[in-house]
Point group: C2
Chain length 300, copies 2
Amino acid sequence: MTIAFGDRLAAEFAAGRHLCAGIDPHAGLLAEWELADDAAGAERMGRDVVAASAGVAACVKPQIAFFERFGSAGLAALERVLADARDAGLIVVADVKRGDIGTSFAAYAEAWLAPGSPLESDAMTVVAYQGFDSLAGAFDLVRAQGKGLFVLAATSNPEAREVQQAVRDDGRTVAAAMVADAQRFNDESLADGSVGSGSVGSGSVGSGSVGSVGVVLGATLRLAEYGIETGGLAVSGTALPVLAPGFGAQGARIEDARAIFGGLGAALLANESRGILSGGPAGLAGRVRARAEAVAAALA
Amino acid sequence: MTIAFGDRLAAEFAAGRHLCAGIDPHAGLLAEWELADDAAGAERMGRDVVAASAGVAACVKPQIAFFERFGSAGLAALERVLADARDAGLIVVADVKRGDIGTSFAAYAEAWLAPGSPLESDAMTVVAYQGFDSLAGAFDLVRAQGKGLFVLAATSNPEAREVQQAVRDDGRTVAAAMVADAQRFNDESLADGSVGSGSVGSGSVGSGSVGSVGVVLGATLRLAEYGIETGGLAVSGTALPVLAPGFGAQGARIEDARAIFGGLGAALLANESRGILSGGPAGLAGRVRARAEAVAAALA
């Protein structure tokens, strides 16, 4: 039986796991780990983070750019990292930020989400510069194969505001509309039984209480500036998964997560990368555990 | 001596070449070619299109999603297609639509544009949902290594309008601002001598008359609806490269290109995929030549 992605998230949250551990094998961190700046180095870091995160973090999030820079060898290394994560039953959010239309976007969805694909992950980050429905090529994988999406909504870099705060025909900002569209997708999928306890979902791990399409929202932002309401969405039928970078080295404090996200934080994945990866492999397991506990405590 | 990407485009245009031949090995076309729907099939189609396009088309544009769906094997196949194109001196625009920030976007730029990278191409398509300056990690490769970018501005799918026609703080649409930002980058690079005949450019192939950062504009759109002016930009110091899908099967007529793009069409790359790829490998060279001639005639 296929379990809906949102139900898998709900099970993680029920177990007190909200940390998303980043896998960012860029040159600086590889040097700190005394690893070569090549595909083998990236693979070593990735497999170590997977081993340290299984049963401790809710998920891992490999930044695919840092593997892609090594070409096919980098993706082959990534495939071995992903296989480790599958063996460990650890959720993988592929941070690929793919976006396109029609058969092209469907091919990206096939690459990262189709069962049996060498790059198969549980969810992927996506960009909808071409409109929310440009992502339609992934919707069947979400509805029928237990896969998830995280749609970029509002991101922390200052130059992003020019696009994400732009105002649409309907008066909403681009970012607020991404949040609303993701929520609508989840509510409709629950209503028609295509995702959740009605069909794919298993009663043992959830009941459609968490959606399978989430958003990326930077934890360092003031969401009100985007017209994103943090109070109202908790009353909706499904909690919207929020993948939030920005905690730790980027400046947001996990202790402030409730204040930052309000009702939007009911299904929060707090991403941390540098705080976990800095310092090399020696203390890795301890750092992942410490950050997982801090996140759990803040969100309890 | 490194030749600026814009100068390489200018040389193609001077030779009457404006066609960008798509390489889209999706399942349907591979079946039509009697090729297996796998990495080897995609490689065969890609290498055939390269062979048919060298000296005939201005560039080839592989849609990377159709290779990525085969994982590392797909990228290895793509690497061999790219090597063929380099050997043939054919410009490659990697249609990857990558977008991210900081070191992550820089890693994508390294993957697709850095000299010596296994996936090295001449230019890549990029998405700036996180703001035009989120692309900064590629700017040095443009200025110093003769590489190019095509920034998604206005695309042909109807659901794209919700984002691309959204209005920014400064009153411009998101799409119009992408066009203006690309133009500004080119003008500033020419002014400070970092791209063009002053430094990287070679006097033998151009003089900064064509910029190295272009935009993607769908040929089926009415650009006025986006506030994109098609009259004024021709007076600028550098012509803005425009990569335009939508001709042929998608409905726009190449004969109408001048009417559609006006002054924006001075550095036009007309993309065609289905019209070239449909029908299998037998008549491929003839179809590429026929489309190249039709494009040249329409733009002469």
